[in-house]
Symmetry: C2
Subunit: 134 residues, 2 copies
DNA sequence: AGTACATATTCGTTTAAGCGAATATAATTC
DNA sequence: GAATTATATTCGCTTAAACGAATATGTACT
């Protein structure tokens, strides 16, 4: 019954997940580590908007960031709480099969693999996992 | 892959769950059917507040209501979507073990079983499951 | 019909979040 | 060290949502 464990703030988690842009970001990051510029391009939206939502996710403990020179890489952090983690994992399964999310991922993949990437992305570090595949 | 199934609105579900009062309500209702007046008493808060949050949950498809005379009974409706249902069920497990939620349930149980219920509850139909236990 | 009671809704206000535009910060390059 | 690039933050505004207080609706009872 874990009587001593500090109770997890489930409401905070749900608030973090209750926004389309943030769900799309989590979907794109997946279990990879993705540079902000790729997220901006893949979602075709403004950089400040992406940055603000990433900050929100970070405050909620859902993602962490790593700096690499001028680039910032974001990765998902699974919740420490057992129940929250299961919820999160189930959400990931949903993201995988949702059609809009699939389209987002396809767009990201295309950005990563195209021989002529948009100007914004030239020289930018590609997502780790995808980069590893080549 | 269910290509034809209309994609579930996961964001809507999370918004419904991203509020403490609504989580507490879902916790109290559980898999029972509970009269509004019991919810008001158990959460020690105003009746309009409870009513508004129940309306919110109903719009989000998370609960349904049944009228019985002047009383309204609310019950939880598990999401049709497989992933959403699993998330919901996992949330229920979390509710069961969370200490604050346990206290809420204890307060409701006490209201149901006390020989001298508060004036507001005299004559009100008790939660089905608890009523059935006696 | 009229009163009483349970619940729902509206009103006015406050607060949290979202956004685009502009600006600030931090690292890199020249 | 000045310019460039990537990202973060701030500003002003708009919208959603929460709240208490007041009011409306619906049902029951006399």
């Amino acid at each position: 019954m874990k009587r001593n464990a500090k109770d997890f703030d489930m409401e905070l988690l749900f608030r973090a997940l209750a926004d389309e842009t943030r769900l799309r970001l989590l979907n794109l990051i997946g279990n990879d580590e993705v540079c902000v510029c790729y997220l901006v391009e893949a979602l075709r939206t403004s950089q400040p908007k992406i940055s603000r939502h990433l900050a929100y996710l970070r405050r909620a403990g859902v993602v962490e960031a790593r700096r690499e020179g001028k680039w910032m890489h974001y990765r998902v952090v699974e919740p420490a709480d057992t129940y929250a983690r299961k919820i999160f994992q189930e959400l990931c399964l949903w993201l995988m099969q949702d059609q809009k999310m699939q389209r987002d991922r396809a767009r990201l993949a295309k950005l990563c693999c195209t021989p002529q990437p948009p100007v914004q992305l030239q020289g930018a570090p590609r997502p780790l996992r995808i980069a590893a595949e080549r």
